[in-house]
Amino acid sequence: MVAGSQVGTQTDTPGELADRADDEGEIEVMSQRQLIWRRFKRHRIAMAATVVVGLLYLMVIFADFLATNDPYDSNADRQYTPPQWLRFFDGAKPDLHVCKLVGKRDEFLRKVYEPDCDQIVDVTLFGRGYEYKLLGVTLDRHLFGVDDPVATAEDSLFILGTDVQGRDQYSRLMLAVRLSLLIGLVGIFIALVMGTMLGAVSGFYGGFVDNLIQRSIEIIRSIPTVPLYLGLAAAFPADWSVERRFFAITIVVSLFAWTELARVVRGRYLAMRQEDFVTAAITAGASQRRIIFRHMLPSFYSHITAASSLSLAFMVISETTLSFLGLGLLPPAISLGTLLFSAQNLQTVALAPWLLLPGLVVVILVLALNFMGDGIRDAADPYGS
């Protein structure tokens, strides 16, 4: 895939090799995949968006490694600590540190923490922190952090501040990205299975079945999503375990997404049925199965990928909205929505604006998924300019 603009090497079919032999190897032969990749590479924004999505998905695996503090560790004393900026230099000498937070009593005798840059807290790379499991291995190393953080606020590192219970917002954000993206992944899997199956059935059989599926899709799409999702989510008992609720909410958010995929698959299927290469395959005596999987499916992989990435964005927004309204995932689950739930009223936001940061992550993620999806769709269209 890397040397996409060169002569096709790995995916040459016998026919293509024969063609090239005829022309003394001067003609460039590219597979469909290489052509798409070449067009996609020209789309700068889509490339950048893909990198962003890739990085965010790396966070799914390494969330705990990137976190600095135990995301569940609460301390009412450290409520609403403002973000501490990481500083990379001490004078001219490179030195990773933050200003120490010094506790004072304000005029209402509440404890408030303010940075005092005369004292510093050293930040170590690959230091020890709380224990976590990564791919089944128990580890305690983190990308950076205060080595062996004790519970006093003075020595702590809160690069994105703390929430109402004094929990580290940055570490919670890392875990939230993981859960929200997982919802998207599981949801897209459900939507893909349902969407491609019903879409293919609809396109393949046509007639009454097609009509039935298409009308059902129209009806589902005509119901405003938020009332429907909220109605369903509100019916789940509040005492369900975190995992059970996770799956229930995932199913709810994929309820709408599969309809889009089914439409894409059906549309492509119907369009493709008329194409010459399908007629050729039928004439050549290929089996139904071979025609669908070998000839038709590869030519709409990219459309499915594009539709999936747009649906994924929609699902992340849905989960965030549901949890934000208090009917999606519930604490102790940490997702982008449950983090934003704590920023639900204006008074809190005015007091601790950094609680809105998870919202920025949602925006970046959704934008990246949208640009990536659009890029794939454009690249997959052989008739596009």
């Binding site: 119901i223 008992p237 965030t320």
Partner: protein
């Protein structure tokens, strides 16, 4: 034309039936029937519900009947305008809905109006001046409007306004007008409070409509009749407004029905964040309190409203565009 009308009408009726079934299922999803919930809420306020009272309530709502009988009783009552009783508000559901209906309609209609007057000119501009800085800016904001969840726009805008001016952009009435009878001053106060929610609610829809107006107009501009008109010496302005824009705006009619679900969804979220007295806010309160008849009625009517909206826009589209009308014959 008649065949087309009849077919669309039958679809709409079937869709409305399906939505009513879905709403009924959602109403019945929570564990325990609603008389149990009622008894629990009454107990919480210190009122004991006697066993035979509970039984007569169950009889009245037909909770001892088979499911399909329950459904037909429920839908019959709905069609007669009896939507059930809301425990949370301690009033019939229709009374609760009527309370904030005007605010809700004003907010929704305002948002649709805002979307039209903002998105269509920007869409036309973006298409006519394709790849100009203005087009890029519009496209960028279009994407941004799609990517930012409604509640986040509401929170951030309200926070910024509060931070800069100290004005708390919540509620739709100032305290002195909230219970006052209608007067010119009260209407003016409401209008002032509506501006911000309408803009926030319209943002996502604006983004969608800009994209679609732009794409449609770009398709039209490539067509030979545009070249012909230009060759005949029409001014660019006359040319664009007289032919391609009129074609490109056809889908906008059907899109208004398409954005309706988003407006309804958005208003629920916005009303919660900004604490606006609309049906959306009552709906969320009903959901958290398991006040099923109120929440079920909102789900049912928002679905029906969308279906009627789609049907209406189909008719309008068929009337405007003969190609659609003739398709069915």
């Amino acid at each position: 034309m008649l065949a087309f009308l009849i077919r669309r009408f039958i679809y709409a009726i079937i869709a409305m039936w399906a939505v009513s079934v879905i709403s009924f299922v959602i109403i019945n999803l929570p564990a325990g029937d609603f008389v149990t919930t009622y008894i629990a809420t009454q107990l919480a306020t210190g009122n004991l519900v006697l066993e035979d009272e509970a039984e007569s309530l169950r009889d009245f709502y037909g909770l001892n009947d088979p499911v399909y009988v329950q459904y037909s009783k429920w839908i019959t009552r709905i069609l007669q305008g009896k939507l059930g009783f809301s425990f949370e508000f301690n009033a019939p559901v229709e009374t609760v809905l009527a309370m904030n209906l005007l605010n809700t309609l004003l907010l929704g209609a305002g948002a649709i109006f805002f979307i039209w007057i903002v998105a269509i000119p920007i869409g036309i501009y973006s298409a006519v001046k394709q790849y100009s800085p203005g087009d890029y800016i519009a496209t960028f904001f279009g994407y941004l409007g799609l990517a930012i969840p409604d509640f986040l726009i509401a929170l951030v805008v309200a926070y910024l306004i509060f931070d800069l001016t100290g004005f708390l952009a919540t509620d739709l009435y100032s305290a002195e007008y909230r219970t006052a009878p209608w007067s010119f001053a009260k209407a003016w106060d409401l209008a002032k409070h509506l501006v911000l929610p309408v803009i926030i609610l319209g943002t996502a829809g604006t983004a969608t409509l800009i994209r679609i107006t732009r794409a449609n107009l770009l398709d039209e501009l490539k067509k030979p009749y545009v070249t012909t008109a230009r060759a005949k010496g029409l001014t660019e302005w006359q040319l664009i407004m007289k032919y391609p824009v009129r074609y490109a705006l056809n889908p906008v009619i059907s899109l208004t029905a398409y954005i309706l679900p988003f407006i309804i969804s958005g208003s629920v979220i916005l009303s919660t964040v900004l604490d606006l007295p609309t049906i959306g806010r009552d709906f969320l309160r009903a959901l958290t309190a398991q006040d099923i008849y109120l929440s079920g009625a909102v789900i049912l009517f928002s679905g029906w409203l969308t279906i009627i909206g789609t049907f209406g826009s189909d008719l309008l589209l068929a009337w405007v565009d003969p190609r659609i009308r003739l398709e069915g014959d």
